[in-house]
Amino acid sequence: MPVQDPAARARNFEEVALGFDRENALLECERCLMCPQPACVEGCPVNIDIPGFIAKMIGKDFEGAWNHLTDSTLLPAVCGRVCPQEEQCEGVCPVGDRLEPVAIGRLERWLGDQAIANGWRKTSHIEPVPFRVGIVGSGPASMACAADLAKAGCKVTIYEALHAPGGVLRYGIPEFRLPNSVVDAEIANLEALGVEIQCNTLVGRLFTVEQMLGEMDFDAVFIGAGAGTPRFMDIPGENLNGVLSANELLTRCNLMHAGDFPSYDTPLGLGKRVAVIGAGNTAMDAMRVSLRLGAEQVHCVYRRTEVECPARKEELHHAQEEGIQFHWLTTPVELLGDAENNVRTIRCQRMELGEPDESGRRRPVPVEGSEFDFEADTVVYAIGTSPNPILGQTSKLRLNKWGYIDTDATLATSLAGVYAGGDIVTGAATVILAMGAGRKAAASIRSYLGIRD
């Protein structure tokens, strides 16, 4: 798979992974063994019929292949780019036992991009039904739920708190992994289905979920509000200037265009030596954005080893190639600042792996007396999120013990007619799982409203 040269791409926001062209896509399809019991389908959280769409591609019926693919995924151009394929479909493909597995994600991306470029639509006629559904948030869970309900004939309105739709796809995942043009195209598809998107609308505060079902007269509600609230560690020095969450860094950069300050008004104030704490996708994005915005050194501080690193392997690999310095088995214990309250130094401690914990991973334990300092003028926290409190504060929705919205197997919440899915139910997960949850909730809402297929 062709990628941009690491030295060049570390300084630009162009997409890192270059797509297939038609010829290479077809060559890749030839590598599929058309397994009678395909492991890849089991490996995909939404069980896409992978050999099925590849067969259509081999027959050069690309639109047919896309139609087949999109029976299962509504966001192929997105998931083809950002799914952790190595743990899912591609991770179990037997071709990968000896060679590279079939590049399923790349093929989906290619089909998704073809659909956008050629304006392919599922042409099925929409039969209106007399139901209105309100949706909270506009991330992948909500986008998928809205699309399915609109196709079922419902009048769907999405309410998004920010001024632009897309959720993490917009404010979190950077341009070089997922171009905004792809998100825009998916949003345009929703609008073409008749979905109304109202931004600048903070549900819970402008109106409550209960009011949506009451005076606003929605027949059902779906909540896809994401996980969202960044965690800190509660170590000394965390409130120094220059210490921020990855969400803040990425929002300033991706949503607010702080990289183009002062043409855009939002400042970023990124330093020259950036340390990012954590090693998940969010951490990788924060590090690689920092490089592209001119940081001279970018360090990753992670308390476990490379083996436990939760990011997509491709992202870790790309980050290493781009020159990010990884400090495995290391944890910060204190941040030290200068007289102006700016962070200057990060004090770390070495860790070693002890007994396995609940997650089955070996628990990192501090090594006594191993403290050491290094210089950093920007420190970014990417150690996970907690549930956003707003809907809990403003509705009677039952939450689980971690503060996420409690649902049953059909994704129904404790309020009749209200369904929820995606990160606000599971905690931080993946785009494909959020998409799948949105579709599942749409199916539950259809049966709740008595809409037949």
């Binding site: 708190a161 404010y171 402008l206 969202g228 960044p230 969450s245 300050f261 855009y264």
Partner: protein
């Protein structure tokens, strides 16, 4: 966009905007704020809802032009213009407690936002003492509005050109001395003023609520940029506040964090002033240079 329907200029730097948003006018409660964006290149800036008119369907913002975004708002937001973004009401509404006697204190950009709280306390049956601070007589606004909802109203000016000469803390001391039974003080203004108010009431053990104004981005609890230190704990002002117990707030931390982007703010303002100057110099009809 969100249409500006009315505007008043209180001084060279302070102006009021009335913006049409019927749904928000119905939902707003005292103590809440909005986030506005001037245009799609703009930053997201938080502003307290200084008043709301449920029948008229408008909310009122009172803005102090202090930097690039607020100055540009001052230049461009005239009746008929539209704000690109307006979201809210945000934050937990102020708790209008069952206090029988309260002092509502406003200074600087806090004068307008203290008004809905004073009114709410009045409506709840409390005895309301309003204390507001201005630099001098010409800057005073909303005097009658305050008098209508306050049982006592004290103006403090730096130069003594109106009311008592001195800081709002003197107004608070006076009121405490005159009434032995103040249940609560609510103070909104610059951090330095809110800290002074909290220190004034601390020896008397009077509950003192303040409204914190850290730098924000989304205002929805998603970024953590607005974190403040209260009672030794980290709180997010946009979703856990903006009101907190003034005796517990770490004001040094707040003030240090507010200085986070000073160099960039200066750069933005200089660049903006420069482009305004060049526009002003361009002969009428000549194509303006785009900065």
């Amino acid at each position: 966009g969100f249409p500006v329907v009315d505007r008043q200029d209180f001084s060279e730097t302070t102006f009021l905007l009335e913006v049409s948003h019927p749904q928000m006018a119905r939902a707003a409660r005292p103590g809440q704020f909005v986030i506005v964006m001037l245009d799609n290149h703009g930053e997201r800036i938080p502003l307290t809802i200084a008043d709301f008119d449920r029948e008229g369907g408008t909310i009122t913002l009172v803005v102090q032009a202090v930097g690039k975004s607020s100055r540009e708002m001052q230049a461009r937001m005239v009746p008929g213009a539209r704000l690109f973004g307006l979201v809210g009401p945000m934050g937990i509404p102020s708790e209008i407690s069952d206090a029988r006697k309260v002092i509502c204190v406003g200074g600087g950009l806090g004068v307008a936002p203290i008004y809905p709280q004073a009114r709410a306390f009045k409506e709840a049956g409390a005895y309301v003492i309003g204390v507001v601070g201005f630099r001098s007589r010409e800057l005073i606004f909303w005097e009658q509005k305050f008098r209508d909802v306050c049982d006592e109203f004290v103006i403090c000016t730096d130069d003594g050109s109106a009311g008592i000469k001195g800081l709002v803390t003197q107004g608070i001391e006076q009121a405490i001395a005159a009434h032995g039974d103040i249940d609560e003080v609510v103070a909104i203004g610059p951090p330095i003023m809110m800290r002074a108010c909290a220190e004034t009431t601390r020896p008397h053990g009077i509950k003192t609520m303040v409204s914190l104004n850290p730098i924000m981005v989304d205002g929805t609890g998603m970024c953590g940029g607005c974190r403040v230190r209260v009672g030794g704990r980290i709180r997010f002002a946009c979703v856990d506040g903006p009101d907190f117990d003034g005796h517990e707030v770490d004001f040094d931390d707040l003030m240090a964090r507010l200085a986070r982007y000073r160099p960039q703010e200066r750069e933005a303002l200089d660049r903006y002033d420069d482009s305004c100057r060049r526009l002003a110099m361009a002969p009428a009809g000549a194509p303006s240079e785009k900065a």
